[in-house]
Symmetry: C2
Subunit: 669 residues, 2 copies
């Protein structure tokens, strides 16, 4: 039985967290002290009394999620993970911010057990949490709506002033309020200090009024008053909408410089460290001290939480017995169960079919939804009709009597939140989420795209209108540099299919092979179906590049392209052929997949003896490595223009004639 | 004397705007109808009765600014520009969305007289307008505070639901409210419809309450009620804070399908067009009809506005006479007047001085502020101390009794708004604005970075902490792909200086040579001063790349690098030299500037006969074109790690030994 939490013991635990924090930052020589010190009381109390978790099973599906959106307060999280017995020994705390430690400067999912999402770039965790809340509500509605099924857990967030200043948090909270995500609770660390100075320098909005305007339940409390926190949480849990608890805290609580901007970061240095420890009543040494009473209490609580987990698991088992169909569906989705010949079923009938690849993508989505019921969830940032992201009949989330049974999310004109929320859904682990907008607006999403890649979150980005062939909307809507910019993100796989078969196989790859985020680049305009000697297989697509047109003899030139430029290259190759120039045409839907192939495959497809011309209706810088100094990237080095896309094809030289002419000139040297 | 605006004439003018809109969209075959039709009344009224402008002098400094943040409503703006006699003949309206017309799909600054900023990507115009308002307040405070000096104009914005859903608008409005920008008025087109459907699907926040929470004056009116609009504007102008006027409008007003999502975009097609024209009381033909009475009225108003301008100019002349010093300062800033040997003064004393390039950048800023008083305005998104963006003694905008006399903007943790606002300041044309954050967070700013490039706005981005050598903050804070992603943006010049002299000359280039936006990539860590045979000149830096270390004989290899990797390459070259390998070391601070050099210069520096190794502590894809298929990019293809930067240098192989070893292996083949 755990020891009783007397006021003295509570203070000792909080000061242990503060002590670990300042010792760790002192040892590292750099790090954030202020927020962990100011948050020790309310966040420890949340974990102790409210948060549902089992440190021995960090992936337990029914756990509450704790998201430290203020990722710079990492030592708060690491301290709690250590004290409650997650796999984070004290030695790791001592190696805070060191190479290969489990305690990096900002929390990284996958590096540390119990870290739900990678945070640090502000506002992102907030958006992830909205996605996790949406995933939980949807889990409950799809599978666990009757009896004690899954999806009843809560999502708790700790957010700083900085989080709330970032646009992505406004977008996310707007949608969360709209969808009435009542399983979401945000603890706002209202410490009135940012790095540069007091928040009064920059941030004077009425935060409670702002959140109320967005449909949130709001309570304002003193962060040191745990009874007030209990009351606020009780109010939150019954509110029927997301809740913000604005907690007035003191940055660097316990330090002689508490409340001042300079305690945001550290280290303190020996003298200030000594003064702070004295004020906190902790001995100067040993450092990294966890008193026995603290350890005993936390271990006791961890055991109790484990027992709670077992009770809940037993109830889940009972639910499984009484709701076998729902349980089977839940398991099928989580295990990514698919019918035999899944890829074949996606491709079926597309051979020879001309259409825009965004439409082929829409067809694939509809087929996946039918073949793997309940697996998908996704939508668009107000361009659903253009992105072909709506699965017909799947229902809109947030609408109707059962607002979370649908499969389509109307994200609104909120690309950034869409991406952060999609990552949160992916991290939940139940569903395979996707999100669509125009390729050019991937710019609005980049911070979240990067974090998806860093976390290997299985978010799929449906980027349509993937070139100047957007046409009349003009340069503001025409991507030029976006393909290169996406390909530059480590760990993001970009696939730009050239026709319906490639588009269907790209989706097959997403569902069956991807181990991280994927960006699909899809055309607005209709493309012809490629003519291939043999049907394209998933295995060949997975190689990233393959030959779609072989000349009779040895090639004089290799034309390398993706997406809409592959059929263009084929037409140019036909023109070249009549001049006696033998051109191999290579479709390269994914440079990342191609780069991962054995050198033998790459060299066979692109022998150094054959000049290479890469064709892309975009900047095309990412082809330079394949083309070489002597090769040619036939791309677009400036912004687009507003005109019908056929006119733009002429203007920018993306016609078979213009391409063939340029290739001829290039080969002449 | 202009004819009287009877209710009938008013309706006729509004319907002329609607008629031009639907004819233009019909002719183009694609475009947005709904918003221009719904906004015709209030926006025409704004232009007619309130907006201060002279169509014959679109760049008149004292004009009010009109920002169509809802850029898809471009036909509204084009119609007004045409009717009021800007240089936009009817033939251009007829060529809406055609190649080389002055009427692209979305308004583009520089393409059409009277277009203040390029809009279309939602939320951007809102942020630009905040920047224009800030520039006006600062102009008034710095130069025109006494008498009838400049900077007293107003900034009017038309924003859609989509604009208000974008995070950048929340960030921008938060800062605008904080700074009490009382010269800013936003007309919110509350038409309750977005592309996908009714706003009730996605957007249920209480917009007036939201803006009040951010410190705005808010009025809600019926958009058809011009008397209410007059009252709301009067209230706005006296409010002492920015104002939102929420106008309930009807999308597609005048069409039989008014108020329905399907009138967002068009064309109508012949039948619906006929029905609409009938309902509006316009003849079916001729199309593009501007009735004589409409033309006469608008011409009359344009003349009256021109007369108003002359009166204001006369008062400005009087101000010039009575405030000669202020007028001289204003002119000096606007004409970019600089002392002789400006570049030399920036470089003075930096030869041989080791420091972080961010600190050298801070020194340059301080010198520019002293050499060109009043020219600069800028700041950081809450990382001022780290970005070295604060000019000592320049004062903070928004603080003290005279809140707009300072030079430093505390943007808060709002990178995206910072960028959009900076663009707005640049577009105002008075000041040279700059904005700082960590390089990795350039991701948060990309939509605005792109628009700066498209508009050739002279925004300068101060991106510090430009590699994994950020160190302990870890991969979330370490740029890998950002340099490549920035270099991919057409029209953006990226400069990554290698030491203090290069950093100072980079700033000299920004002030004296740049004709568009510039991104500076600067180190957190101290760099040694490069040893050069001759002092570096601005002319050489402007070439983008130059040799910093020549071997005695012909080079066996060229080491190509920028920023912190140049000194690393020099050290590696010294090691190689002791093995008998002669290495030329090239510092390439700007690939864009280098690419613009004559081929002769490029070939001399990088002869194809010499193998090239590019070194960059980042992805390095943008070097591939210079390195070739046989060359080597010595970069980082994965995310970074949390550790002291010296450890990361070892871990990622960015030490002289590791680099020399790899070069040796590469040359062996």
């Amino acid at each position: 039985m755990p020891s009783e939490l007397t006021p003295a013991l509570r203070a000792q635990i909080e000061n242990t967290i503060r002590g670990l924090t300042i010792d760790a930052v002192e040892a590292a020589g750099i790090g954030h002290l202020g927020a962990p010190m100011g948050l020790a009381r309310p966040v420890f109390h949340l974990w102790d009394k409210h948060l549902r978790f089992d440190p021995t099973e960090p992936a337990w599906a029914l756990r509450d999620r704790f998201v430290l959106s203020a990722g710079h307060a990492s030592m708060l999280l690491y301290s709690l993970l250590h004290l409650f017995g997650y796999g984070l020994p004290l030695d790791e705390i001592k190696r805070f911010r060191q190479l290969h430690s489990k305690t990096p400067g900002h929390p990284e999912r996958g590096e540390t057990p119990g870290v739900e999402t990678t945070t640090g770039p502000l506002g992102q965790g907030f958006g992830n949490a909205v996605g996790m809340a949406l995933a939980a509500k949807t889990t409950q509605a799809r599978f666990g709506s009757k009896g004690e099924g899954p999806g009843r857990h809560r999502i708790y967030v700790v957010a700083s002033d900085g989080d709330l200043m970032e646009g992505v948090s406004y977008e996310s909270s707007s949608l969360a309020g709209h969808l009435k995500l009542d399983n979401l609770v945000v603890l706002y660390d209202d410490n009135q200090v940012t790095i540069d100075g007091p928040t009064s320098w920059t941030f004077s909005e009425d935060v409670p009024a702002r959140f109320r305007a967005q449909g949130w339940q709001v309570e304002s409390i003193d962060g040191e008053d745990v009874a007030a926190l209990d009351r606020a949480l009780a109010a939150a849990h019954g509110a029927g909408k997301p809740a913000l608890i604005a907690m007035r805290t003191t940055i660097g609580h316990g330090s002689p410089w508490a409340g001042q901007p300079k305690v945001h970061g550290g280290p303190f240095g020996p003298e200030a460290l000594r003064a702070t420890k004295q004020k906190l009543g902790i001995p100067e040494s040993p450092t990294f001290l966890v008193p026995d009473a603290v350890r005993a209490y936390c271990e006791g609580r961890a055991s109790a939480k484990r027992a709670e987990r077992k009770a809940l698991d037993a109830r889940l088992e009972a639910w499984r017995s009484s709701h076998e169909g729902a349980a089977r569906s839940w398991d099928a989705v989580r295990s990514r169960a698919l019918p035999a010949d899944f890829a074949g079923k996606l491709v079926d009938g597309l051979e020879g079919k001309a259409d825009a690849t965004r439409k082929h993508s829409g067809t694939a989505l509809a087929r996946i939804a039918a073949l793997a019921p309940g697996l998908l969830i996704g939508g668009s940032a107000d361009l659903a009709g253009s992105n072909n992201t709506t699965v017909s009949g799947s229902g809109a989330i947030g609408q109707g009597d059962e607002p979370f049974t649908g499969g389509t999310v109307h994200f609104g004109v909120r690309e950034h939140a869409m991406a952060a929320i999609t990552n949160g859904i992916a991290l939940d682990g139940t569903f395979l989420p996707y999100a669509g907008t125009f390729l050019v607006f991937s710019d609005y999403m980049r911070p979240s795209l990067r974090l998806a890649a860093l976390m290997r979150a299985r978010s799929t980005w449906v980027f349509t209108h993937d070139s100047i062939f957007v046409g009349e909307d003009g340069p503001t809507h025409q991507p030029i540099e976006q393909l290169d910019a996406l390909r530059a993100i480590p760990g993001l796989t970009v696939i730009r299919p050239a026709d319906g078969v490639e588009a269907a196989l790209a989706w097959a790859w997403v569902v069956t092979e991807a181990r991280g985020p994927v960006a699909l680049a899809l055309t607005r305009q209709t493309l012809p179906a490629l003519k291939r000697d043999a049907p394209l297989t998933l295995e060949t697509l997975s190689r990233g590049a393959y030959s779609v047109r072989e000349p009779a003899g040895e090639p004089d030139v290799a034309l390398l392209a993706s997406g809409s430029e592959v059929s263009l290259a084929c037409e140019a190759a036909a023109l070249l052929s009549s001049d006696g120039i033998a051109a191999r045409v290579i479709s390269a839907p994914s440079l990342e997949l191609f780069a991962a192939q054995p050198a033998a495959y790459r060299d066979e497809l692109l022998p150094t003896s054959v000049p290479v011309v890469a064709v892309e209706a975009g900047r095309g810088e990412s082809w330079r490595g394949l083309v070489g100094r002597e090769g040619l990237v036939y791309g677009i080095e400036r912004f687009g223009a507003s005109a019908p896309y056929q006119k733009l094809a002429e203007h920018f030289g993306f016609t078979p004639d213009a391409l063939a002419k340029r290739v001829r000139a290039h080969l002449r040297g």
